[in-house]
């Protein structure tokens, strides 16, 4: 039997607030009537993956996005950081520096009571097994738990347990999970990914740690992209938005700029995507 229709997967990688660029990508795909057969989301990308897979309009996703990245997400961070340094806060594998009640509340607002089976388009969320570092695919049951696990940024948000497995941020193992899309039969992969910004000044231990994290993460990102690119039988379209300035986690005022950069990066690839889709 000859296969004719190309199966299209949308992959949204980790990148916290930068993942809002996927709203711009989604706008373009809707305008061009490009149908998505599978959505894969990792970390911040999982939030937007839910909106897209649920069939929300871009403007609705933007409203949810605007209410997500607020400073109360980091409730308790500074106090707990200090306490962890002076030894008054005992850390273990279930700890995080942030009181995650705000994050959980926001994610419940996004996911609602939805289960994966309720979504219009199949969604796979990627997290990481805290015990062995292996990526874990989540695509069944309650959406909130999966997105919460995928967003558990190490040491910041506490890990999240699902079915006896302690899970952390999907970015730790698979920041742009193109392989998941390939494994689930995608021909055309539209992969929106984000690298971490590098610093130019280092005035604290935290600054150096952040720089090291950026180096590790960006190399994982590129190495896994390179491997997946070699492994795939058809096309992977990398949609990598470029930003004029550093985007920090709570730059809500930059949201229009982030979305616009997502649009631009998608429009750059659009003629090639359309040509392949015939």
């Amino acid at each position: 039997m000859v296969k004719t229709k190309k199966r299209v997967a949308l992959v949204i990688g980790s990148g916290a607030i930068k993942c809002a660029a996927s709203i711009g990508m989604f706008q373009v795909l809707k305008e061009e009537n490009i149908e998505i057969d599978l959505v894969v989301g990792c970390s911040g990308g999982a939030i937007y993956g839910v909106g897209i897979a649920a069939g929300m309009e871009p403007v609705e996703i933007q409203e949810l996005s605007d209410s997500t990245w607020t400073k109360d997400l980091m409730q308790g961070y500074l106090v707990n950081l200090k306490a962890s340094k002076d030894g008054t806060l005992k850390f273990n594998e279930r700890s995080g520096l942030v009181d995650d009640s705000f994050l959980n509340e926001k994610l419940k607002g996004i996911a609602g009571d939805r289960e994966f089976a309720d979504l219009q388009t199949p969604l796979i969320v990627v997290a990481t097994d805290m015990k062995d570092g292996e990526p874990v695919e989540l695509s069944e049951g309650d959406i909130f738990n999966s997105v919460r696990a995928s967003l558990a940024i190490p040491m910041i948000f506490p890990p999240w347990e699902i079915d006896g497995t302690l899970l952390i941020d999907g970015a730790a193992s698979n920041p742009l999970p193109i392989d998941v899309a390939i494994q689930h039969g995608a021909d055309v992969v539209l992969a929106m990914g984000f690298t971490l910004d590098y610093r130019s000044k280092f005035r604290s231990l935290t600054a150096v740690q952040e720089q090291m994290t950026s180096i590790y993460m960006n190399n994982i990102f590129k190495n896994s992209y390179a491997f997946n690119n070699l492994a795939h039988h058809s096309e992977i379209f990398p949609i990598i938005p470029e930003f004029d300035s550093v985007i920090s986690m709570f730059d809500i005022h930059k949201m229009p700029h982030i979305i616009e950069r997502g649009r631009e990066a998608t429009l750059e690839q659009l003629p090639h995507i359309k040509r392949l889709m015939g």
Binding site: K222, N223, Y225, A226, N229, L230, H232, S234, E235, I236, F237, P238, I240, H272, R275, L276
Partner: protein
């Protein structure tokens, strides 16, 4: 896509123009396979006229590089345009093959 070859100091300089993707990559593979058995095992891919390369394009270049090396030669890349350079770097292709700013520099590199 436009493909042509000329020889400079024994090196096959393959000029590739236009856009390289899953559909056009078969043409380049076919062209290269004809060259590799016939003459020099050293090649330079002149990409000055290549405006776009997709992920499938990268795989073709890697295949060309592998074949050249298997035959005791090499494929080197010259005059990469910014859009193509971005995808080369993202794919870490620039860690696998030698890339030069001009065809002349790429050809001369075979003498060193």
């Amino acid at each position: 896509m436009d493909i042509k070859i000329n020889y400079v100091e024994g090196v096959g300089v393959i000029s590739i123009g236009g856009e390289l993707d899953a559909q056009s990559s078969a043409e380049l593979t076919q062209f290269f396979n004809k060259q590799i058995g016939e003459s020099s095992q050293n090649f330079v891919a002149d990409l000055e006229g290549l405006a776009y390369s997709s992920s499938a394009g990268i795989r073709i270049f890697l295949g060309m590089s592998r074949e050249s090396r298997r035959n005791g030669g090499d494929l080197r890349i010259a005059a990469v345009q910014p859009q193509v350079d971005k995808i080369f770097k993202l794919s870490k292709f620039d860690r696998i093959v030698k890339i030069f700013p001009s065809v002349d520099k790429a050809v001369q590199s075979f003498k060193q």
